[in-house]
Amino acid sequence: MDLSFLFFYLFAAVAVGAALVVVLNRNILHCAMALVLMFFAIAALFLMLGAEFIAAVQVLVYAGAIMVLFLFVILLIQIDRVQMLRFAHRQSPLVVIIAVLLLAELLYMIIRGTLGIAPGGADAAAAGAASGSTEAFGALLYTTYLFPFEVASVLLLAAMIGAILLARLDKEEVGGVSRQDMS
C-alpha cells in the first residue's frame, strides 16, 4: 500500500483550495493566511519529492518572510473592505468567458500531452541520491549553475537599490524635516 499517493492528493487539494480562497475571498487578511497555507501545502509536496531543502526554504522565505512583510503592509495601510469588494466585481463577463476557455484548453492540453518524462538532468538525480539534497543543491549552485546564481545576486542588488530609491523620503520632499526629527 502506497500512502504517498493519498498524501499527494491531500496536499495538492489543500494547495488548490487555498489558492482559490486567495483569489475569491474578499478579506485581504484571510487571503494572506490562505496563501500561507498554500505555501505549506507546496512545501509538503516538495518534501514528498525528497527535496527537503526546497521545502524548508519555501516555508522559511515565502511563509516566514515575504508573507510577514505582506501582513505588515496590510496592517499598516488598513485596506478598506469596500474597495476590495469593488475590485473583485469589476471583472467583465468577457474576462470570465476567456478565462474559462483558457482553463479548458489548458486542461485538455495537459491531459492529452504527456508530461510524465522524468525531469532532472542525470547529474542532478545522481547527486541528489548520493548525498542530502541540501548538499547536492549547493554543489549544483556553485558548479553547473554558477552563472545564473551570480546573475541572481546582481538582480537582488538592483532590486534592493530600486526599492530603496522608490521608498526613500528626501529631505526636500518631507519639508525639511531632518532624520532625527523623523525617528
Binding site: 504527456t114 525531469p119 558548479t143 554558477l146 546582481v154 530600486g162
Partner: protein, 485 residues
Amino acid sequence: MELTLPIPNLRAIMPELVMTFWACLVLVVDVLISKERKTWVGYLALVGTLVTMAFTLPLLGTRTSTFSNMFLVDGVALFFKFIFLLATALVILVSLRYLDIEGVNLGEYYAMILFATLGMMIMAAGNELITIYLSLELMVISTYVLCGFIRRDRRSTEAAVKYFLLGIFTSAILLYGMALLYGLTGTTNLTEIGRALQAKNLGANPALLLAMIFLAAGLGFKVAAVPFHMYVPDVYEGSPTPIAAFISVGPKAAGFAVLARLFLVSLPAIRPQWGTLLWVLCVMTMTLGNLVAMKQSNIKRMLAYSSIAHAGYVLIGLVVANEIGLASVVLYMFVYAFMNIGAFSMVILMCKRGDRGERIEDFRGLARSHPWAAIAFLVFFLSLAGIPPTGGFIGKFYLFSAAIQANYVWLAVIGVANSALSVYYYFRVTMLMYMSDPSGEIRLTLSPSLVFALAVMVIGTLAIGLYPSPLIAAARASMAPIFGP
C-alpha cells in the same frame, strides 16, 4: 563532500563583468559626490558603456560558450550587445540635462540604467532558461524603477505601477512556459531542449504547443506586440522621456533576441506552428499600432503606438526566420535605436520645468524659430516612416524583401501598406512644424550633451541610409553561428 569549483572562461563574459563593476562603481561614486555635481555620475556611466564596448570589440568574430554552455558568445549576441550599449550611451547623453529639469538628479538613475543594460546583454547571450529569466528580471526590475523615477509626479508613479503589475504577470506566464519546456525535456539548456524535442519526437505534444504560446505571450509583452501592448502608451507617456526612449529600444531588442534564440534553437520541431502564431501577431501589431497612432494628440503616446507598429515590422523578420530574416531584424533594431531615441529626444528638447512639451500642438511652427531642430525631427520621422535616404528605409527594405524571398508576399504587402499608413501621422507633425505659424514663443532646452547626441543620431540615421553596406555585411555575418556550418 569535496567541491571543485569550475574555472570558467572569464574572457567571454568580460563585457558583462565590466558592466557590473561599472554599475557598482557608479553607485559608490554617487555616494561620494556632492549633490550639485550629480551630472558627473552621468558622464561616468557614459564612460562605462564606452569601456564596455571597448571590451566587447575584441570578442568580435569569436564563438565560444562558457559556464557549462549557459552563456554564449556569438555574432547575434555581440550584435545585440552593441545595440544595447549604443542605446544606453545615447539615453545617458539625453538624460543629463533632463534630470536637472525634472529635479530628480540622482546618481542611482545611471546605475539602474547600467543594471538594465547588463540584464539585456545577458539576455542576448543566455543559452539557458534560468539565466535568461533572471537576466530578463534584472532588466525589467531596473526599468520599473526608472519608470517611476519622478516620484512627485503621479503619472510617473502610475506608469511604474502599471508596468510593474503587468510585467510581473507576464513574467509568470513566461515562467510557466519555461517550466513546461523543462518538464517535457528535463533540461534548461536551449540547445539541449531542441535536441531532446527532436530525439523524443515531441513535436505533436499539446503541452509543447502550450509552452510555445506562453513563451510567445511572455516575450510578446517585452517587445510590445499586440495584444500584449496595453501598457505601452500609458507607460511611455508617464515615464521620464529618456526612459520611454530607453524601454522602447532596449527591452524590445532584448525581447527579440530571446524570442529568436528560443524559437530557432529550442523549438525548430514546431516551426510551422510558431510561424503561424508570429504571423498573426505581426499583422495585428503593425496594423493596430499604426491605426491608433493616427488619433493621438500627445506626441509620446503617438511615439508609443509607432513603437508598437515597429515591433510589428521587426516580427516579419522572425516569421521569415531564415538567415536574411534575422539579419534584417538586427539591422532594423540597430537603425531603430538611432531614430527612435532621436524622436524621443526631440520631446526632451521641448520640455521645460513644469511642462513636458508633449502635445503635438507644441511643435507648431518649430521650423520658423528653430530650423535645425525641425530638420533633425524631419530626419527621424522620415526614417521612422521608412523613406529614403534614411536608415529606416534600408531596414524596412531588407525586412520586406526577406519576406518576399521566403514567399511571405502577403506579409510584405501588409507591411508596405502599414508603412504608407504611418506616413500620415508622422507627416501630420511635420506639417505642423513647417506649414503653420508658431502660436507662441518656442523655447528649446538645449544642452551640449543633448545637441551632441542629436547630431550623432541624425548623422547615424542618414549614414546608414546612404552607405548601408558595412552594416548589412556585419548583420549577415552575425547570423553565421545560427545558420552557418
